[in-house]
């Protein structure tokens, strides 16, 4: 809602960015300003995803852009990718989720664990968004603990038979292909399950009060025959799905700053125009304290992401670094959105302003891709050497 939005850059971090990185951010921002902001609240209320934007996003090159050109990518670096995620999530976390799922959770595993035929078959059409993917890991009874999954694969003539159920799967109702993680002889493996395979179902989940402009569904697998060539050959065990999550978490760590920036910018503008006791509410020390806290946390989050991106590009990033950035930035972004709501007073709850939508969205974002607590335990194990996931 903030007019003339110019981004938030209190620490002149733009000085650290290349011209290409800035241009990629600008083009994504222009797209979000003209195509997303005018329609997103409607989709949020109607609980629909703005599907009409998918081809435009593909045309700009927002899907799988870090991949090499022969697979439909553009070879942009990870900082540019992160900046792009900030702008998308400034539009809506649902839009960023769509991009994360397509790029980080679906194209990435095919790129990293697929064979050459699988890469050529899937990646270029997925970059053009002619094929939509989804990522099926979570099950009704296994969320934070995916290693316990029940979904399984049995070897049969020419392939595998899959049985089980996945839940909370972003984009499953509109996906052409699902990366389904299932146990084969007790070991987690990745399968490319195509829409037309018999026994494959994707009922939509209703009643979400968060991430409403994103489609979420189940995946049901009833004796689904998956041919041999649809097994991802490059990985066995939980590190397969976890490495995908790491890619997606990386994008989330950046993305949520976009929601926070939008709420901060909205609150700042509002506080300067809303008059109480004859002065703009920005004149009150308590309002200023809130605004400063918001800006301060956004700036710290930007610094963290910026260096995280450079480490990812250099190959020095550890997955625990990603956990810290995801954990911190989701937490502060959610707090910033709630503070913005307070500064806007009653107006904060209206759909005229983006703050309540962002705050609600971030409830999901804080939980998916590893809850706040799981990231705490991941970092905790890293610094103490003691895993604390299980009560022994």
């Amino acid at each position: 809602m903030s007019t003339n939005y110019k981004g938030v850059d209190y620490f002149n971090l733009d000085e650290l960015l290349s011209e290409e990185e800035k241009m990629i951010r600008e083009t994504t921002r222009d797209f979000v300003n003209s195509e997303v902001l005018p329609i997103i609240e409607h989709h949020n209320q109607a609980m629909t995803f703005p599907k009409e934007l998918i081809p435009k996003m593909a045309e700009i090159g927002l899907f799988g852009p870090t991949l090499p050109e022969q697979y439909g990518g553009i070879g942009i670096n990870n900082v540019a990718y992160g900046l792009m995620m900030i702008e998308l999530e400034r539009g809506d976390s649902g839009l960023r989720s769509f991009a994360s799922v397509q790029s980080a959770l679906c194209m990435y595993p095919i790129f990293a664990f697929g064979n050459e035929e699988q890469k050529m078959k899937w990646l270029p059409p997925m970059a053009r968004a002619e094929k939509i993917g989804c990522f099926g890991l979570t099950e009704p009874d296994y969320g934070s603990n995916p290693g316990g999954m029940i979904t399984n694969a049995q070897k049969c003539d020419g392939g595998y038979v899959l049985n089980g159920a996945k839940m909370w799967i972003t984009n499953s109702p509109i996906a052409d292909v699902a990366i389904v993680w299932a146990k084969l002889d007790g070991v987690v493996n990745g399968f490319l399950v195509e829409r037309e395979f018999k026994g494959f179902g994707t009922p939509e989940m209703k009643g979400k009060l968060s991430l409403r402009a994103s489609i979420t569904g189940e995946i049901t697998l009833q004796d689904v025959f998956v041919p041999e060539e649809n097994l991802l050959p490059g990985v066995q065990g939980l590190k397969g799905p976890l490495s995908c999550l790491n890619q997606a978490r990386y994008g989330i760590a950046w993305g949520v700053l976009g929601a926070a920036m939008e709420c901060y910018a909205t609150a700042l503008e509002y506080s300067l125009s809303r008059i109480q006791f004859d002065v703009p509410i920005a004149s009150f020390q308590m309002t200023q304290e809130k605004l400063v806290w918001m800006l301060n946390e956004i700036t710290k989050g930007q610094l963290m992401c910026y260096h995280l991106g450079r480490m990812k590009d250099n190959g020095t990033m550890k997955h625990q670094h990603v956990s810290m950035a995801k954990r911190n930035n989701c937490e502060i972004a959610l707090t910033i959105c709630r503070m913005a709501r307070e500064i806007l007073g009653a107006n904060g709850i209206l759909d005229e302003y983006p703050v309540m939508r962002h705050a609600n969205n971030l409830e999901s974002v804080k939980t998916y891709e590893g809850t706040h607590e799981m990231h705490t335990l991941i970092i905790g194990e890293d610094i103490t050497g003691i895993p604390a996931f299980r009560v022994s």
């Binding site: 290409e20 241009m23 083009t27 045309e59």
Partner: protein, 248 residues
């Protein structure tokens, strides 16, 4: 087909400009520069034409070294080549047009696009002046353009209506909002922009015909006045509009 687009770099339209210490130009501190918004329509039209007929697109600009950033924005949209007539001097419309004409004479394009005006000085002169220096036909403020063979049909905005004009190639066209929807630079274009060539030239003409004597900001708006909150205030409102504001 050889397609040229003349573009300029202007302060971002949302910038709050300040007059510089010399009282004759704006203070560049803190100003972000963008491609002149009308030039985006010109670039888009050039790209559409190339997609239809093939050929080569080139952008030409006159200005400081920093203008290269704007040229690369045009590259990111899909333009093939750039020429910068590099100068740190403030050139007036006449000088800019003379420089552009000298460059264009060498390339000899089939069609030359401009934005209808640049939103910094708002002179709206450069496209027509350039056409005149080149001895070319020119159609300005164009909102629709068709080119078949060498026949050019352009729709232009006139006061209270539309005018259809025919002409033929080579021609100079100045673009108005509505001509097309400029594309977003895509990521691929952005990544390729750096490797596209920008040729630098010395200005061939710097003898301005006009000189800025002084520059000032407009007077701030005077305070509004609330004369009532319901229908009973209407007669007083009408009286004030008539007698004080003298607008009715």
């Amino acid at each position: 087909m050889k397609i040229a687009v003349c573009i300029s770099q202007v302060p971002d339209t949302t910038t709050k400009v300040k007059v510089g210490g010399n009282g004759k130009s704006i203070d560049p501190a803190g100003v972000t520069y963008i491609i002149n918004p009308y030039d985006e329509f010109a670039v888009e039209e050039a790209l559409k034409l190339k997609e239809k007929n093939g050929g080569e697109t080139v952008v030409i600009s006159v200005g400081r070294d920093g203008v290269k950033e704007t040229i690369r924005k045009a590259f990111a949209m899909g333009i093939d080549k750039g020429i910068l007539v590099k100068t740190d001097n403030e050139l007036d419309s006449y000088s800019v047009a003379r420089n552009l004409a000298d460059v264009l004479k060498e390339i000899n394009p089939d069609i030359i696009f401009f934005g209808k005006q640049s939103v910094d000085y708002d002179d709206s002169q450069v496209s027509t002046l350039t056409a005149e220096f080149l001895g070319l036909r020119s159609v300005s403020v164009v909102v629709d353009l068709k080119i078949e063979g060498s026949t050019v049909t352009a729709e232009r905005e006139i006061e209270g209506g539309k005018e259809i004009v025919t002409s033929s190639l080579p021609v100079v066209i100045s673009a108005q909002k509505g001509l097309n929807n400029p594309r977003y630079p895509n990521l691929k274009g952005i990544m390729q922009a750096k490797s596209k060539p920008i040729e630098e030239k010395q200005p061939s003409f710097t003898d301005n015909k006009t000189e800025v004597i002084s520059m000032r900001l407009p007077h701030g708006k005077s305070k509004g006045k609330i004369i009532g909150t319901d229908a009973t205030a209407v007669p007083e409102l009408v009286r004030l509009l008539r007698e004080e504001a003298k607008v009715i």
